[in-house]
Amino acid sequence: MHRLPLLALAGALVLSACDSTEADEVVDLEAQVATDVEADPTTGRDPNTGAPIANDLFTLYDLDAGEIVLSSSETDASVRAADSTGTAWDIGFRGTTIIFNGGTSGPGQGAAQLLTEAFPDVTEAPASGYVADGANTACPAVETPGGTFPGAPYALCTGDENGWYDYDPSQNLITPIPGRTIVLTTGDGDYAKVRILSYYQGNPTPPNPTAPSRYYTFEYVVQPDGSRDFLSTTAE
């Protein structure tokens, strides 16, 4: 019986020798780091209400290409309409809110879930459990002056401790909760995992609450071949 693998290997070699296409290469996936991605940084405070002044717009990021597709500083409505309706972007940031290209946030296949697992230990994306923006019923209910909503509509719940961050009022500090890894499907349906490293410009260590905020530094791995494996990809 142990001759069968040997026979198969011999057959494959023969076949591959006859085939004109190249063999599949297995390449390790490296984690990428995006630094200082602006997420609608504030430019001051309204002297009357004390509310922070910002554009109130999302920055959209493409994980496959590793670049910003649409920045929050782009206020031209027609440019925004053009760039936000494609499937190029995968993840969006505005203040502490994170969205994905799917559901009510975009036209793509983006959906996400939050795992309590160290980033390097997430070696494979789960098969199920993803929710798209607007379809998450598990977030804590929110009451606003305009009415009661059953929960933040986002896949990654908003609010202190509900999603990716912890807010410490005594230090006025926002820190990403360690051990929380975001696993998502990109706009094109590929799998990716993201870990937020810092909310402040320059990723100061230890975190510095006086540094300019709303500048994300995050680490991510995208699996371009469509499989759920995060360790290696088969390039063609």
């Binding site: 929110v142 009451e143 202190d160």
Partner: protein
């Protein structure tokens, strides 16, 4: 109660039927002075020696009987005598003084006078002699050296007992509470130690006797009572680094039927700055005045006493804020006035019962003003005014030498006025009324065993009544070994701020509301359009509850020899319904609205050990160590479930276990103290060292616990030295003292503002 009183209560009436008796006098074997209050016991009968040392013991049976004679401070003596039926035997007894200094009495542990070694709960006493030798001037200086206590800064110098923050320790002056906890902390540096006879510290829940706030322990300052024939006075002046001065003038007068003592104290400092780069002192300059009067009088069989205190403090400092990128400087002035009045009447009702009625009134008021330095305009002002009135009656009944019952009842009224406190529904200042009753029974069937059971019932105007029980026992297998154990409940009622606060911090922008003001506060902010979103509906919340605990304390004390005592103890506190702030809504300026909720469950437990040695005459060494674990139970559960991670400085996440938890902020797992005192004639030297291991103080990696090295304050040790010399002069006794605090010059500038580096002082006192 004075020993003579105890003797009066213990003495039996004349025997109803003529029978055999033993009578005589009990004296000190060395000085031949009468031993007042000595107890002579024979099986089921007992008698006590009166003011002349005379006793009369009626025996139930004739024949051979073993008499056991005990007295506080003396070695117990057994005598076997034979008494014929109907006979009266004359027997004089001489007692040898006990070598170990256990003649200290405490009143706080059981609300009655007991010898320190006879209490079943962990109690420490610091007497006036020790206070003088250490050169302590404020209560904080005294508590620093008590094993198992930690001092820390939080709106003033607070004291931590068994890992609990200072909100949970009751501070008493002659048994009545010191009021004035704006943020929960009672600043122990507010109280001078002038006129103090001893400081008693009882650890473990004492709510069954003292009610709310005695969840972690009780600190009682007992003032000195001049003995008859005293005509004394004193003047003391002390000066030290940072412009620290302390001046006291005191006088005491004692007569047969009355006594009075008074003092005036002025304590001040120029303040100091541990961060010279930032504008504003770390500790501002201040002047603190205290005037105190204590008087006692005997009117017939009744005893009247009066305590009155007036204190005032002025403080001025500065700080800088950033406005539009530029630094703006402010002057920060605060003043405080507080007074208390404490009349008490104690009347014997028959031979066995004593009734004590107490009235207590106190007021505490502070004013804070921030003014912009540039133009003197008022930027912020805050007033706080708390009034407290209490009436209490306590009955002590000594049925027999084996049974002592104490029952008491009282009522308390409190009123609070302050800028941060919203008026009630009727528009008047927040107020609360409370009635309570407590009972305690002490059963001492023999010298081997003492059992104490107590319970207190509290009914408050703002939340449900509660019953708080406690049971403790002391076992003495031999004269040199004492084993104590206690289990009890403690509670802490929600503080005024947790009920009535309605405050917005103008500088930072957040708002905090007490539980009774939360719904209307949030509605008002919403109507003003200041809210972005509300996280939970305040009107759907239930009423806030008192924080409560169940605690176990156990310990063993062994006198290995006349010169060496070893003590070891363990404690375990389970606390539920701790009140913490939690955000309720988010404001348009990005800040939160906070409310007070019963959120947390914490556990504090630990071990402590203490060794007291007197190797040579005049040398005393006391060393202690405490292991403390103070943890939030919800966090321990989360860590045990493996869902909590830590992130190191390189960005690596690692799963944390229960062992990685640094405990509640501000609690050191290990602490040790060492005290060495050397006395030679009229000179003495006192060296005190205290060490605490590192403690967590902030969370930087987003998991809400201290687990990384940079989330801890490094441990440190502080060494204090005081040298004293006194001479007899024609004018009186002259005492000179010089010392250095923090010899090792340890500072943790932003983290421990109360540690200013090495401080030197010198003082001169005259007592006549």
């Amino acid at each position: 109660m004075r020993p003579a009183l105890l003797a009066t209560l213990l003495a039996l009436g004349a025997p109803a039927v003529a029978g055999q008796t033993v009578r005589g006098q009990v004296t000190d074997a060395e000085t031949e002075a009468p031993v007042i209050g000595a107890t002579v016991r024979a099986a089921d009968r007992g008698a006590a020696a009166d003011a002349e040392g005379a006793y009369l013991l009626a025996l139930s049976e004739a024949g051979e009987v073993v008499l056991r004679v005990t007295a506080v401070g003396y070695e117990p003596t057994d005598r076997t005598v034979t008494v014929a039926r109907g006979d009266t035997l004359r027997l004089d007894l001489a007692l040898a003084p006990r070598e170990i200094r256990t003649d200290r009495v405490v009143v706080t542990a059981t609300r009655t006078v007991k010898a320190l070694e006879d209490v079943a709960v962990p109690t420490t006493v610091v007497d006036a002699e020790t206070i003088r030798q250490q050169g302590a001037v404020r209560l904080g200086d005294v508590l620093e050296t008590v094993p198992g206590l930690q001092l820390f800064d939080d709106h003033g110098g607070g004291v931590q007992v068994q890992g609990f923050s200072s909100d949970y320790t009751l501070v008493l002056l002659d048994g009545e509470p010191v009021i004035g906890r704006m943020a929960g902390t009672l600043d122990v540096d507010r109280l001078t130690v002038s006129g103090v006879e001893r400081v008693e510290v009882v650890e473990g829940p004492s709510s069954s006797l003292y009610g709310s706030e005695a969840l972690a322990g009780v600190v009682n300052l007992v003032t000195a009572r001049p003995a008859p024939g005293t005509v004394a006075g004193g003047l003391r002046l002390r000066a030290g680094s940072y412009g620290q001065t302390d001046a006291t003038a005191e006088a005491a007068l004692g007569r047969d039927r009355w006594a009075a003592s008074a003092f005036v104290n002025r304590f001040g400092s120029e303040g100091y700055d541990l961060t010279p780069d930032a504008f504003g002192p770390t500790v501002p300059s201040f002047t603190d005045w205290t005037a105190d009067l204590r008087a006692q009088a005997e009117v017939g069989a009744a005893q009247l006493s009066l305590g009155a205190r007036l204190a005032a403090q002025e403080q001025s400092g500065g700080f800088a804020g950033i406005e539009d990128g530029a630094e703006v400087r402010y002057d920060d002035d605060a003043s405080r006035v507080d007074w208390s009045l404490h009349p008490e009447l104690s009347v014997p009702l028959g031979d066995r019962v004593r009734l004590t009625t107490t009235l207590y009134g106190a007021r505490y008021a502070t004013e804070t003003r921030y003014r912009r330095q540039a133009d003197g305009s008022l930027y912020y002002s805050d007033d706080f005014d708390q009034r407290y009135a209490k009436v209490e009656a306590q009955l002590d009944a000594l049925w027999s030498p084996h049974h002592l019952t104490v029952v008491g009842a009282g009522a308390i009224g409190e009123r609070l006025a302050g800028d941060r406190y919203a008026a009630g529904d009727a528009g008047d200042a927040p107020s609360a009324q409370q009635v309570y009753a407590f009972a305690q029974h002490e059963w001492a069937p023999s010298r081997l065993l003492e059992v104490n059971a107590s319970a207190r019932f509290d009914a408050h105007s703002d939340y449900a009544a509660r019953l708080t029980p406690k049971l403790s026992a002391l076992v003495r297998p031999s004269d040199a070994v004492r084993v104590r154990a206690s289990v009890g409940s403690g509670f802490k009622a929600p503080a005024f701020r947790q009920l009535y606060l309605a405050f917005t911090n103008a500088a930072a922008g957040y708002s905090v509301f007490g539980s009774t003001r939360l719904a209307e506060g949030v509605a008002e902010l919403e109507a003003q359009g200041q809210l972005v979103q509300v996280f939970l509906d305040p009107s759907a919340l239930g009423a806030i509850e008192a924080e409560s605990s169940v605690a176990f304390n156990a310990g063993v004390a062994v006198d290995l020899s006349a010169a060496l005592t070893v003590e070891a103890g363990a404690f375990w506190n389970e606390v539920s319904d701790l009140i913490e702030t939690q955000p309720v809504a988010q404001k348009t300026n990005g800040q939160s609205v906070f409310g007070y909720f019963n959120l947390d469950r914490i556990t504090t437990r630990g071990l402590d050990a203490q060794v007291t040695a007197r190797p040579l005459g005049g040398v005393e060494l006391v060393g202690s160590y405490q292991f403390l674990q103070a943890r939030d139970r919800a966090i321990v559960d989360a860590l045990a479930s493996g869902t909590v991670f830590g992130r190191d400085l390189d960005g690596r996440d690692a799963r944390l276990g229960v062992g990685d938890y640094g405990g509640l902020f501000g609690r050191s797992p290990h602490a040790a103290t060492l005290r060495a005192t050397l006395t030679r004639g009229s000179a003495s030297a006192s060296l005190r060292g205290r060490w605490r291991s590192r403690y967590g103080y902030r969370d930087l990696d987003g998991n809400q616990i201290a687990n990384r090295d940079d989330e801890f304050v490094a441990g440190y040790a502080v060494l204090d030295l005081t040298l004293t010399q006194s001479w007899a002069t024609p004018a009186g006794r002259l005492q000179a003292q010089a010392g250095a605090d923090n010899l090792l010059d340890v500072t943790r500038s932003t983290l421990v503002p109360s540690l200013p580096g090495r401080t030197l002082f010198a003082s001169l006192g005259l007592s006549f």
